[in-house]
Amino acid sequence: MLEFIDVEQRYGKHTALDGISVRVGRGERLALVGPSGAGKTTFFRLAYGAFVPTSGKVLFDGTDFATLHGHALREARSRIAVVFQTHGLVERLSVRANVLAGTFGKRSTIDALRCTFAPNGGETEAARSALESVRLAERLRDRVFALSGGQRQRVAIARAVVQQAELVLADEPAASLDPELAREIVDLMLADSRARGTTLICSLHQPQLAESFDRVIRLDHGRVVSDEAAGTSLFSI
């Protein structure tokens, strides 16, 4: 599904990723752990092709991101969903508009704007059913800024659901939540991944949350320091 081949990313003198090779199979649920500054966010930004790495390749479904442009790049990205620590939601818009934004990959600009400001019945229904899967259907018409941190993350997950994404990238989805809520959000994402058979890559601060994943990769100073099936080792941060 996603493959990093000897990827190096430098920002000026600073090296964010120092020669990483990782292969993530379809349907795999991977946790990425490591201290801040380990290169996790750079990993995610490369995984959706935000930029081309300094050296090395990022393959999505066998295709090098660097060779994709314009429509093909959008097409590839439309199969990827992202959940950010800061949610990546538009606070001024309604929950429904934010969930439907997941379908932008398959829409023209005009249609995307139409869908944001004047969604039709079918689209509203799609948003509602996605929100039901995260138990938030009753907030469909609320503005996002009225929601709590945990509720916002659930909206972001619902967006991935409505998008029917094959790869879900979650950068620190639980970092700004209290432990109980963090567990709930991670469980929701794992459940969604199992239900739809999607690939999930999730970076985490708290190592105990990584236990329910298939595989755990630990990053430090831009390198992979361990790559094991979950539960096989005791690691500490």
Binding site: Y48, F84, L93, A101, F104, L169
Partner: protein, 462 residues
């Protein structure tokens, strides 16, 4: 010829700057010290600020006669009142502890003020003084209308003689001076050492006063006596003429002026949004792979940035004359001029708001394959919306003033009524119209402040 005109303009500006600083600094200190005197000075400064600049110039002409003294006095008083407010707000906002500490150990009030408070406020003081200099240069066109001399007068005269070749040339020269002064003021604000700023300011003020005094028919005592004579004139022409005819003319005029301000503000905003979207590097060139309009989008970006800068550099009154020459006399010309100027200012401010708005939302949309334009409009613009609306409110305040001013050069409205009354020497009527104009400006400010207070509330609530 041109060089002489340019020097005249700089002399007028320097002299007005000297007046503005001499009035503004002490007034600010008095306001900050408070008490009944402070309140009175604060009220006077607010009242003067509400008088649109050209209206003030007309009052000065009525009191002092046509010529540089009237122009310089009007410009100086107007900017002085603005500086008084800005300086006072600044001095009230900075940390008071260093001054208190000096007072506590027995330093004199003046020492504590100079050593304890002024250094804290220094960057702001320099910034506002530089800003005053910029707006005075732009204002030199305004006082040109009342015959103060310099490029401003040359622009107005060549326009009246329909000599458009010279008209455009003078405007071009003024634009060059404006850009140079903006560059100087930018350097003073951001990089110059403290004493260089003081030196430059004092030199400009001294050179201006000397230039005006040496230019022949103006003596230093004329300048010194100008302000008391304006006050005396105002007292003589009381009470204002509030007859039914005057009130009818004033209400009609206010209606026109409001319409011009509304069309100018919203027309300008409509022009500004697409220009800002073209001019903001982040959107034009892209913030990640797959965004940005096209590989060559730096071309429209540079063109729109350049266009915005030029439109901003042309003083609005010169734009007004330009519009009058193209559209003809009447409110339409005023609305066109205001819309263009507003587009220049808002386009820049919108662009800057877009550059500093958070990118996360837009990035998360693009990451899922959204078209870049949709991602920018849905993900980025809402984040900049509060700033955009707040800028819009400021422009509205400013445009109510400018719309009055444009009326005086033939764009109709209350400004036209003021101008006519001055031409006919109906000074009791003149003062009545000025009172109406000031009330209109104050009402415009109140509307805008209420709007901005609501905006602020919404930001806090979320």
């Amino acid at each position: 010829m041109i060089v002489q005109l340019a020097f005249e303009t700089l002399a007028i500006a320097g002299c007005a700057f000297a007046i503005a600083l001499t009035l503004g600094l002490p007034a600010a200190v008095i306001v900050v010290r408070g008490g009944i005197v402070g309140k009175i000075v604060a009220f006077l400064a607010t009242a003067v600020r509400a008088i649109p600049d050209l209206v003030l110039a007309i009052i000065c002409v009525a009191a002092l006669g046509l010529g540089p003294v009237a122009g310089v006095t009007a410009l100086g008083i107007n900017t002085g009142a603005v500086l008084a407010k800005l300086f006072a707000e600044l001095l009230l906002a900075v940390r008071r502890e260093p001054e208190e500490a000096l007072r506590a150990i027995g330093a004199s009030p003046l020492t504590s003020f100079l050593i304890g408070l002024v250094p804290e406020a220094w960057p702001g003081l320099v910034g506002f003084a530089a800003y005053a200099l910029e707006s005075i240069i732009r204002g030199s066109v305004i006082v040109g209308i009342v015959g103060a001399g310099g490029l401003g007068s040359a622009i107005v005269q060549s326009f009246n003689l329909a000599n458009y070749h010279e008209f455009f040339m003078y405007i071009a020269w003024l634009v060059v001076i404006v850009i140079l002064v903006d560059a100087l003021s930018g350097w003073l604000r951001e990089r110059a050492p403290a004493f260089a700023a003081v030196g430059v300011f004092c030199a400009i003020a001294a050179a201006g006063v000397a230039g005006i005094a040496l230019s022949g028919n103006v003596s230093g005592s004329d300048l010194a006596r100008a302000l008391p004579r304006v006050v005396h004139f105002l007292a003589d022409e009381m009470p204002p003429d509030f007859s039914a005819k005057v009130i009818a003319t004033a209400t009609d005029g206010i209606e026109v002026t409001i319409v011009v301000a509304i069309v100018g503000t919203f027309g300008g905003a409509l022009l500004a949004v697409p220009l800002a979207l073209l001019a903001a590097p982040r959107i034009a060139l892209g913030w990640m792979r797959g965004t940005g309009y096209a590989p060559w989008s730096y071309v429209p970006m540079i063109i729109s940035r350049f266009g915005l800068a030029i439109v901003r550099a042309i003083p609005p009154l010169a734009l007004g004359l330009l519009a009058l020459s193209i559209v003809g006399l009447g409110p339409k010309a005023g609305a066109v001029a205001l819309a263009l100027h507003t587009a220049g200012v808002l386009g820049k401010l919108f662009g800057e708001s877009l550059e500093i708005a958070p990118l996360t939302e837009a990035e998360s949309l693009v990451a899922t394959g959204a078209p870049a334009t949709a991602a920018a409009l849905v993900g980025l613009v809402p984040g900049a919306l509060n700033a955009l609306l707040s800028h819009l409110a400021y422009r509205w305040e400013w445009n109510v003033r400018a719309s009055t001013t444009l009326g005086m050069i033939g764009a109709g409205g209350i400004g036209q009524a003021i101008f006519n009354a001055q031409q006919l020497l109906f000074y009791h009527q003149l003062i009545a119209y000025v009172i109406f104009a000031v009330a209109l400006v104050v009402a415009g400010d109140v509307v805008s402040q209420a709007f901005r207070a609501r905006l602020h509330l919404r930001t806090v609530l979320r």
